[in-house]
C-alpha cells in the first residue's frame, strides 16, 4: 500500500507515443530522481500521473497506495495525495496566493466543513517564512509577475501546505540561480519523511547535490533505461547522455 507503482505505462499525445512501457516504483520514505535528455518523456510522465487530459493512456497502471489513478480527474488525483510541482507554473491573475491555497485545502474537506482562518494563516506564514517568501505575497496574484525563483518557491509553498503523500517535482531547478536552488532544495528536504515519496525530475545533476536521492533513474525514449544509486547522477554528468545511448546499444 505504501507505493506509487507505475507499470507498463504507455501514453501518447496526438497519436505520438511518448511513454513506451514505463515501469517505476516510488516507496514512501524515499526520494527518487529521474534524469534524462530533452524529449525522453520526463514531463509527459509527470503530466500523465497528474491526470492531464491531453495525453491518452493506452496501457498500464499507476497505483497510488492501492488505488488506480490513471483515468481519474486531476483534482481527484491531487486529493488522493499526489502533488505535481510544475516546470512552468501558470499565472492566475486576480487570484491571490492565500485564496488559491485555501481553495485547495477547502477542496480536501467535506462540504459542510470550513477552514479555520486563524490556523490557516499561521501555517501559511510559517511555511512562507521557511521558504523566505515575503508575507506580502499572500495577497499577490498567483505567479503573476513573479521571477523564476519566486514561482518555484511558490510551488514548494503549495506542496508544503497541501502535505501530499507523493510529490513530483518537474524540472524545479530550471531557471534558478544557485541561491534560489538552495532555498528550494531546503524546502524539499524538509518535506522528506517516512510517510512521503518524492520524485525529482531533472535534466542536470546540480539539483541532486542539494536533494540527495535514494535512487536515480535514467529515462530514455519513454522508459526507464537505467537505475542506480546517487552516484549514477554523477556518472551521467561526467559522461553525458550519449554514454547512455552507447550503454543501451551495447
Amino acid at each position: 500500500m505504501n507505493y506509487l507503482e507505475i507499470k507498463d505505462l504507455r501514453a501518447q499525445i496526438e497519436d505520438k507515443e511518448i511513454l513506451r512501457g514505463l515501469n517505476l516504483t516510488i516507496p514512501k520514505g524515499e526520494v527518487h530522481a529521474i534524469m534524462g535528455p530533452n524529449g525522453s518523456g520526463k514531463s509527459t510522465l509527470s503530466k500523465v500521473l497528474a491526470g492531464h487530459e491531453d495525453y491518452e493512456v493506452t496501457s498500464g497502471s499507476a497505483i497510488l497506495d492501492g488505488e488506480e489513478i490513471l483515468g481519474m480527474k486531476p483534482d481527484a488525483i491531487s486529493r488522493l495525495g499526489l502533488f505535481l510541482a510544475f516546470q512552468y507554473p501558470l499565472e492566475v491573475p486576480g487570484v491571490s496566493i492565500a485564496n488559491f491555497i485555501r481553495a485547495a485545502l477547502q477542496g480536501r474537506l467535506a462540504e459542510n466543513e470550513t477552514i479555520d482562518a486563524v490556523g490557516y494563516y499561521k501555517d501559511l506564514y510559517g511555511c512562507m517564512d521557511e521558504l523566505g517568501i515575503d508575507r506580502k505575497f499572500t495577497s499577490r496574484s498567483v505567479n503573476e509577475g513573479f521571477s523564476g525563483g519566486e514561482k518555484k518557491r511558490c510551488e514548494i509553498l503549495q506542496m508544503a501546505m497541501l502535505k501530499p503523500k507523493y510529490c513530483i517535482l518537474d524540472e524545479t531547478d530550471s531557471g534558478l540561480d544557485i541561491d534560489a536552488l538552495k532555498i528550494v532544495a531546503k524546502g524539499v528536504n524538509q518535506m522528506r519523511n517516512p510517510d512521503r515519496g518524492i520524485l525529482v525530475i531533472t535534466h542536470y545533476q546540480r539539483l541532486l547535490e542539494y536533494i540527495i536521492p535514494d535512487k536515480v533513474h535514467v529515462m530514455w525514449e519513454g522508459g526507464i533505461a537505467l537505475t542506480g544509486g546517487k552516484e549514477l547522477a554523477l556518472e551521467l554528468e561526467a559522461k553525458g547522455y550519449d554514454w547512455v545511448r552507447e550503454e543501451l546499444v551495447a
Partner: protein, 424 residues
C-alpha cells in the same frame, strides 16, 4: 408565471396595455396628489411612447439582441393598488437634514419636497435603443430614490438602498435621481433583488446621475434578481467642470437584462469611469449598450466591462466613444472583455469610435476568450474542484474591475454578491 423566453415576437405589438389610454388615466388619477408639472411630464412622456415606433429588426442599436426576450407585452402597467413600495434606504450618515441633503424614495420626495425634482423633465434617458421603455419609465415611475447633495457637502458613508422587485406578472419603473451640487461628494449603492425565486416580473431602473462642478459621484448598481425576471437599466451620467463620476454595475441575476449607459463629459475636465461586471449562468442574457459622449475639452472617460459566461449564457456589448469637435485633449478608453467558460456560452462585442476632434487619445478594445486549459489544469492539479476552479478564475478575471473602484469596502460588498452567485 409568465414565460418570457418564448423567442417569438409575433404578439408583442398586438396588445399593448401600456398604450391603453384608460389604464394610463387610471394611473394618473391615483397620483393626482402630484404637482401639475409632474402630471404634465407623465402625460407628455406617455404620448411620446405612443407616437414612438418600436425598434425594427434591423435597428443597429439592437444588433445581436434577442429582442423578443426583453418584451414588456406580457406584463401589466403599474397601478396604485398593486404597486406598494418595497424599497428600503439604509444610511448611517448623520445630520443629513442639517446638511441640507435630500434623501428619500421617489414618491416621498415628490410629495414632501417636489422642488428638488422640478428639473426632472430635463434629465434625459440614454436612448440607446430602449427609448420607448424610458418613456414608460418617465410616465409610470412611482418608485426609486432621490439623492440631492448641496454645494460643498461630503457624505462620508455610502447610502445603501435595497429594492425588492414587484410580484409575478408586474412591471415596475424606478427612477434614480442623484444630483450633486458643486464640490459635493456622495456614494449611492442600489441593490435589486426578487421577493422569491419564482415570480417573473420586470424591473426598469432609469437613473440620472449629475455631478456639477468639482463634485464626485459614485454609484453602484447590483442586479441580483431571480432567474425568471427581466431587467432594464437605463442610465445617464453627466459630469460637469472638473467633476468625477464613477459608476459600476454588477449584473448577476435576471433571465435577461438590457443595460444602456450614456456618460456625458459635459464640461471641461470632466472624468467618468464606467465599470461593468456580469456573470451569466444557464441561459441568462446581458445586453449592454454604452455611449461615452465628450462635449468639452480635457475630459477623460474610461469604460471597462467584463462578462464571465457559463453554460449557455450570452452577452452582447455595443459601445461608442463620441468625441465632439470642440472636445480637444480628450482621453477616452473603452474595453470589453468576455470570458467564455463553456463551449455553448456566447459573446458579441461591437466597440466603436466616432471622433471629430483631432487632438485626442482614444482607444477601444474587445476580447472574447475561453478559459485557458493549462490554467484550469493547474488549479485542478491542486485538488480544487472544477466548479471551485471556475469560480476562482471568474473572480480573478473580474477583480481588475473591482480594483478600479478604488474603494476596498465597496469592492468587498460586490465580492460578497459574487460569492452568492456561485453558491446557488
Amino acid at each position: 408565471m409568465n414565460s418570457l423566453d418564448n423567442g417569438s415576437s409575433v404578439n408583442t405589438e398586438s396588445v399593448d396595455s401600456f398604450a391603453d389610454e384608460s389604464l394610463f388615466r387610471a394611473f394618473a388619477e391615483e397620483r393626482s396628489w402630484e404637482p401639475g408639472w409632474m402630471a404634465d411630464f407623465r402625460k407628455e412622456s406617455w404620448e411620446y411612447y405612443r407616437a414612438h415606433t418600436s425598434p425594427v429588426h434591423k435597428d443597429e442599436r439592437w444588433r445581436f439582441s434577442p429582442q423578443a426576450r426583453l418584451s414588456l407585452s406580457a406584463f401589466a402597467p403599474p397601478s396604485g393598488t398593486n404597486d406598494e413600495s418595497t424599497s428600503v434606504i439604509d444610511s448611517s450618515e448623520e445630520d443629513l437634514k442639517e446638511k441640507g441633503v435630500t434623501l428619500g424614495l421617489f414618491s416621498e420626495v415628490l410629495l414632501n419636497n417636489p422642488t428638488v425634482l422640478e428639473g426632472l423633465s430635463n434629465l434625459k434617458g440614454p436612448n440607446l435603443g430602449a427609448d420607448k421603455v424610458h418613456f414608460l419609465a418617465q410616465a409610470f415611475s412611482g418608485h426609486g430614490i432621490v439623492l440631492h447633495v448641496p454645494k460643498g457637502v461630503t457624505l462620508e458613508k455610502p447610502i445603501m438602498v435595497r429594492h425588492l422587485a414587484p410580484p409575478d406578472g408586474r412591471v415596475r419603473f424606478y427612477r434614480t435621481i442623484m444630483i450633486l451640487e458643486e464640490g459635493a461628494n456622495a456614494t449611492l449603492v442600489e441593490t435589486f433583488i426578487s421577493p422569491n425565486n419564482q415570480d417573473a416580473s420586470v424591473v426598469c431602473s432609469a437613473a440620472n446621475v449629475v455631478a456639477n462642478s468639482n463634485a464626485k459621484a459614485t454609484r453602484i448598481l447590483v442586479q441580483d434578481l431571480n432567474r425568471n425576471s427581466s431587467f432594464y437599466q437605463l442610465d445617464t451620467k453627466q459630469a460637469c467642470r472638473d467633476a468625477g463620476v464613477r459608476c459600476c454595475s454588477l449584473h448577476l441575476g435576471s433571465a435577461q437584462s438590457r443595460f444602456e449607459n450614456l456618460a456625458i463629459a459635459a464640461e471641461e475636465g470632466a472624468e467618468i469611469d464606467l465599470l461593468g461586471l456580469s456573470v451569466g449562468k444557464g441561459t441568462q442574457l446581458f445586453d449592454q449598450r454604452t455611449r461615452q459622449l465628450h462635449l468639452a475639452p480635457n475630459g477623460r472617460s474610461d469604460l471597462l466591462y467584463k462578462n464571465a459566461l457559463l453554460d449557455q449564457s450570452k452577452a452582447v456589448f455595443s459601445g461608442i466613444i463620441k468625441v465632439e469637435a470642440q472636445a480637444q485633449q480628450t482621453d477616452a478608453y473603452q474595453t470589453n472583455r468576455n470570458l467564455l467558460l463553456s463551449p455553448e456560452a456566447e459573446a458579441d462585442s461591437l466597440p466603436g469610435l466616432e471622433i471629430l476632434a483631432n487632438e485626442v487619445k482614444c482607444s477601444h478594445g474587445s476580447t472574447i476568450g475561453e478559459i485557458d486549459e493549462e490554467q484550469l489544469f493547474y488549479l485542478l492539479s491542486r485538488g480544487i474542484s472544477k466548479a471551485s476552479a471556475e469560480e476562482l478564475l471568474v473572480n480573478g478575471f473580474l477583480d481588475e474591475v473591482l480594483k478600479r473602484l478604488k474603494n476596498e469596502e465597496l469592492a468587498d460588498l460586490l465580492r460578497e454578491h459574487l460569492k452568492g452567485k456561485f453558491s446557488r
